[in-house]
Symmetry: C2
Subunit: 141 residues, 2 copies
Amino acid sequence: MATTTAAQQRAQTKADYDAFLAVCPSHKLLERISGKWVALILTALGSGPDCGGDPRPMRYSELSRLLAGVSQKMLTQTLRALERDGLISRTVTPTVPVTVSYELTDLGLSMYGLVRGLKLWAQDHMDDVLAHRASYDETTA
Amino acid sequence: MATTTAAQQRAQTKADYDAFLAVCPSHKLLERISGKWVALILTALGSGPDCGGDPRPMRYSELSRLLAGVSQKMLTQTLRALERDGLISRTVTPTVPVTVSYELTDLGLSMYGLVRGLKLWAQDHMDDVLAHRASYDETTA
DNA sequence: GGAAGTACGCACCTCAAGGTGCGTAACACA
DNA sequence: TGTGTTACGCACCTTGAGGTGCGTACTTCC
């Protein structure tokens, strides 16, 4: 058959789209930023422990205490991933027990700006969203 | 024992933090926006099929063809969730085969602005990130 | 008469993100 | 002697987001 069926056509289109998604920069950004602890870490490093100050380097144990819910494994894993992407820098000081501190790079600071934008939008509009959600559930139930 | 041990103290702090995360608006926003197809749908409805135009209502089948990778189940599920949150509106026209069209609400349009911000950042900085990632992998391997 | 479109619902399955728990080497403090 | 801290590595396990496939009720086109 020289003619392609509609099904074949759809499969091809879908494959093309998947390939597009695999290289799409926006998609990769969402993958990074949507990690469960990424935004929390960026915010901590970008605005200090009180979430209202200036960017400041922090130690591993300090982050661990601040983000009390994070497991050590996930904290390490997330920090490594952010360092890999050039968003934070890792500094080891060989004191008696080793001291490791993490700091936002310029690129990381720029991404923190994005996260802060998300936070501001959430503060402004998220209660609207939750109100809609509640009323939807009410009328549907 | 009247004194709390260090372990008990940590457990309490972690419980408090988990409770905080459960109601944190920013966290809820991230949960919504990081769905695999959410940003794609918002972008489609917010800037037309060519990703460069104006907001425009679209039919279910039109979205399905545009986002060629999405399964019918996920498309329906995501649209429902967005409708539940008051971000899009669903309109049913009882033609011969039913016609359903989806459109951004004002709230959804506002969230689309956020997504567009993410897209612009990605276009500007994501190759930096990927470059860092590649060089990190190179020196580590 | 078989294929295709319209907008889904439902049941089942996979896979990876994230969590849990244990071990470390060297030291301080009680 | 035992508990705590520092910054992890490693092995195992759970959970849920997302995917796959099938069915529908009606119609139109080739």
